[in-house]
């Protein structure tokens, strides 16, 4: 009887130790994988942070310069319209008078040839 009790006690203790060992090994493997994944996450977050550092100053720069460009464009097309108005031919709107000779009354030399001179 005593032998049975001793054997059962040893089996009991061995089962406890074996169970603890198996479960702790299992948990250890899972936790190691979790730690690896978390390390990967930390590296990725660090890279994302590095990428994001360029966003705010770059977008502020673009916004500022874009505002200047947008403010200057009306001035540019206003000047272009003035140039177009100044360079386009506009015909006169009033009616033209009849053509008159520039030299006035035409003078004939036939009278001079016969010795006639109008008074």
């Amino acid at each position: 009887m005593t032998t049975t009790l001793v054997v059962l006690t040893v089996v009991d203790i061995a089962l406890l130790i074996a169970g603890l060992a198996v479960y702790l090994f299992w948990v250890g493997g899972l936790l190691a994988r979790v730690a690896t994944n978390l390390e990967d996450c930390a590296d990725t977050v660090r890279r994302i942070n590095t990428h994001a550092e360029a966003i705010v100053p770059g977008v502020s720069h673009i916004n500022r310069t874009g505002g200047v460009v947008a403010g200057a464009l009306p001035l540019l097309y206003g000047m272009a319209e003035q140039i177009v108005v100044g360079a386009t031919y506009s015909p006169p709107t009033e009616e033209r008078p009849p053509a008159r000779p520039a030299s006035g009354t035409r003078r004939s030399r036939l009278h001079d040839a016969v010795g006639f001179g109008p008074r």
Binding site: T9, L16, L30, L31, A52, A54, V68, M79
Partner: protein, 91 residues
């Protein structure tokens, strides 16, 4: 060994088995929780990889800012040109 000692020993063995069963149950629960943590951490890792892929092109933002500066410089050149031409056309 007396009968009482044997009884106590049996009780100790039974208590040891109960302890083993409780330990197995608690460690199984622990493993289940750790598996949930592992699965969710893997999901977070995948999401972060996607986010990293999305933010990988932010290096183009300063380049775009430089290009917009070039547009502004070109616009100033146009302004100078139009200012000169406008004076000649009006005169």
């Amino acid at each position: 060994m007396s009968t009482q000692d044997e009884t106590l020993w049996w009780i100790a063995i039974a208590a040891g088995i109960v302890v083993i069963l409780v330990v197995v149950a608690l460690l199984s629960l622990l493993i289940r929780y750790v598996k949930v943590i592992d699965r969710r951490v893997a999901g977070i890792r995948d999401t972060l990889h996607g986010t990293e892929a999305n933010t990988a092109d932010t290096a183009l933002v300063p380049v775009t800012a430089t290009r917009v500066d070039a547009v502004l410089a070109e616009g100033l050149q146009h302004h100078l040109f139009l200012g000169r031409v406008l004076g000649k056309v009006k005169s």
